[in-house]
Subunit: 196 residues, 2 copies
């Protein structure tokens, strides 16, 4: 990776979190990354769409690593689920509710208007779901149920970011974390019972 | 309500669903509602922000009525929860995944940039959560747990819209509906057990 290219992608990611795709102009990206317009088109000949696709993939990969790290650090998967929701609440408070999930923000904006970027957001959500489903399955939960739990985890976390940013309060994320922990615990209990 | 004002709000709501706040221009709203620019400023002297606030409240109230109607038509609350998720999946398919929740789309866009509209979206989510919490409590679930379930319902439904629109597929909403039904059923069982 090139330093200038990295700076452009990072600046775009930060703008997407706070303003979405339509609200993030190339001029602002150029200013925030201290990269001239020519650089933007040098690294992303396809313009804003190509830059957006690269930024979404970069952000999506980062969040996946973040959640994986939280799960790896936890003594068990139920604790990992709770820690992930606590971490999300903490991230919201630390950024004073400024930072949303850039994938969600852009996905809602472009789903009807930009097929290329819609597919990129779909691929990222699918990668998250598949990674989480593997974790749940490795903990002993049936494969089908693991995928359902992974979908519930991602949808709940995204819904939580939405509610907490709107309310400027993390109470919703705390409540969602408790519910998700209960759901995963119940699935593990069922798996243990079935495995007897 | 005035016919022209209604047309303006309806056209704005449709545009918000598909393009969000930043992507919906007053010019397009004027065209779509067949209302001249002067009308827009006559009914909404505060301009786009005032029009957006009125549109969000109108849409938010409509969705609340829709979910309430689904719950009223169901024989019990667990069936109501399942029906609501099925209805959401059907709405996505019928609109060919074009229509998102306009409250969510705008909330993610404006949370950091427009304090007036952020508060409007927060009030709408809170009204939904309060209405659902009353339903769960009326079914016998403890008040605190009823609020947690209501938060989970709204977050899950919003997260489901996001995942399904990105994927152009309702499989995620079906899975989320099953998980939410299980969660509410478990809460009812706990309430019945505690009440014995």
């Amino acid at each position: 990776m090139n330093d200038t290219r990295d700076r452009i992608v990072e600046a775009t990611a930060a703008l997407f979190q706070q303003r979405g795709y339509t609200g993030s102009g190339l001029k602002q990206i150029s200013t925030d990354s201290a990269a001239p317009f020519g650089s933007l088109y040098h690294f992303f000949p396809g313009g804003k769409e190509e830059l957006a696709a690269a930024t979404l993939r970069w952000s999506g990969h980062g969040y996946q690593l973040l959640v994986t790290t939280v799960f790896d650090a936890a003594p068990d998967i139920v604790t990992g689920v709770g820690d992930a929701f606590e971490g999300a609440a903490e991230a919201l408070r630390l950024s004073d509710y400024a930072d949303a999930c850039p994938i969600a923000t852009v996905a809602l904006e472009v789903a009807s208007t930009n097929e290329v970027l819609r597919q990129v957001t779909a691929e990222i959500f699918e990668a998250w779901i598949a990674a989480l489903a593997r974790r749940f399955a490795a903990a002993g939960i049936a494969v089908d149920r693991s995928r359902e739990l992974a979908i519930a985890f991602v949808a709940t976390l995204e819904g939580g970011f939405l509610l907490c940013r709107a309310a400027k309060d993390t109470a919703a994320m705390d409540a969602l974390g408790r519910t998700m922990v209960d759901t995963v615990r119940a699935a593990l209990d069922t798996a243990a019972f079935d495995g007897r």
